[in-house]
Amino acid sequence: MSDAIKTVGVGVCGAGGTMGAGIAIVAARAGYKVVCYDTAEAPLSRTVKQTEAFFQKSVERGKMSEADRDAVLARFERTTDLGRLAPCDLVIEAVFEDLSVKRKLIGELDAVCSDHTIFGSNTSTLSITEIASGCKRPERVVGMHFCLPAQLMKLVEMSPGLLTSDQVFKAAWDWTVTCGQKPVRTQDKPGFILNALLVPFNNDAIRAVEAGVADAASIDTAIKVGLGYKMGPLELIDLVGLDTQVRLCEAFYPITLDPRAACPPLLRRMVAAGLLGRKSGRGFYTYDGNAMFGA
């Protein structure tokens, strides 16, 4: 049996979400027919509108012809019927970051999908091996962590679970390359590379504020000027959301018991106060529309 992923049938579960929608665009843009699945019609409709707008912008910027746009959009199918994913060569799940949710979904996909289907999980923190334990063919489950926004970011962290077959891993790897993505291989460990480095680092920055080492703006400036980063850690936390950082801590710390991964008390207090970052208008900085003011 070949594990090559053909130009028909890439499924995306959770396609109504931001990450799922981005992964669907990556696949369709590379010429694959994409079955976009979600549990409700409304998020899928929203994704369709966002996808159309994305490709329309590509046309306006001269990156794509109108004919190509129409051809790409024609490759999308949306459904709330899991059974429509049955013939897919590859199904990538990008649903809520919860082990029980993902494990249950993999089990449901296992029941409906073809024998040859490869299951990709877009988890950013959870164990691929544990997710794969939800199905009867763990050898066909691969970690495929895209970065947000997936349609723009090239990186994919690829992780085999303990039981993933080499052939399946290679097929999934080759598929990301054909999509123009840049995969890196990591072990199946919490946070893989990106979040394993980033979450504790961001926590350290919060603790530095809390310890009175410096204010948020000084910390971010030091990092940006000293290292050439585009964004400081506290600006980044404001962007992703302080509540998201709490969730990441809660995912990491119980598994790793790394004190740096433990949620800083200041972060919890800020979330309790409704200071969630850009989305609430105030986090480590105060925002007025797109303008940013100092902490």
Partner: protein, 209 residues
């Protein structure tokens, strides 16, 4: 803002030939005194007295509770090992530091085109305090086989837009330098996050190679 420099040995912030050194004036004409490696001398007549720091705290040079220390500040221009210094200066203050001294110090460095960030007198200041534990984690991940050095660096560049990855950055700055900084931080904080990692320890014991 005019400044004079009292120097003993090589400065990490302003290596030989740095234009900042050439901009100094005579002590009698200066509003700010800068000590590079030389013992600091309190001088209430100056707007600020600045002492260059490496891994040590400002409190090792001046008593933070003393009135004569109100215009004494520490500073370090961030530098990765022996690579050229960056443009960021960490200006270290005591809780009771005089705001006018801070303004004077900022004026001196900013006139030289440097960016100044003010921080408390804590080990590692901002940058080493934040960066060294991350570099330690990256080196540990490498030892544990999480990913190759290339893939770790690639992940940070592609996923976070960093100009370089942690491993290549540590190696460029020197494992031995990383050892020196982490050892100093570990002695103060005592937490495992700052403990020198195996590769840095080995490099230091090999004599920096």
């Amino acid at each position: 803002m005019r400044y004079f420099i009292e120097q003993k040995g090589e400065s990490r912030s302003f290596p030989r030939g740095d234009a900042f050194l050439a901009g100094a004036c005579a002590a009698a004409d200066a509003e700010v005194a800068i000590y590079l490696g030389a013992p600091v001398v309190a001088d209430a007549g100056k707007a600020a007295v600045l002492v260059e720091l490496t891994t040590e705290c400002l409190a090792e040079h001046a008593d933070e509770a003393a009135a004569e220390s109100r215009n004494i500040l520490g500073f370090a221009r961030y530098r990765n090992g022996e690579l050229p210094p960056s443009n960021v200066v960490e200006l270290v203050r005591f809780p009771g530091s005089d705001a006018r001294a801070i303004d004077a110090a900022k004026a001196v460095f900013e006139a030289a085109g440097l960016t100044v960030v003010v921080c408390a007198d804590q080990p590692g200041r901002i940058l080493d305090r934040l960066l060294r534990p991350k570099y330690n984690a990256a080196l540990r991940f490498l030892d544990e086989g999480l990913a190759s050095a290339e893939d770790m660096d690639k992940t940070c560049k592609l996923g976070l837009g960093y100009p370089d990855g942690p491993i290549e950055r540590i190696l460029r700055g020197g494992l031995s330098h990383h050892y020196d900084v982490t050892q100093a931080l570990f002695e103060t904080y005592g937490t495992p996050a700052y403990a020198p990692p195996r590769r840095a320890l080995a490099a230091a014991r090999r004599g920096g190679r």
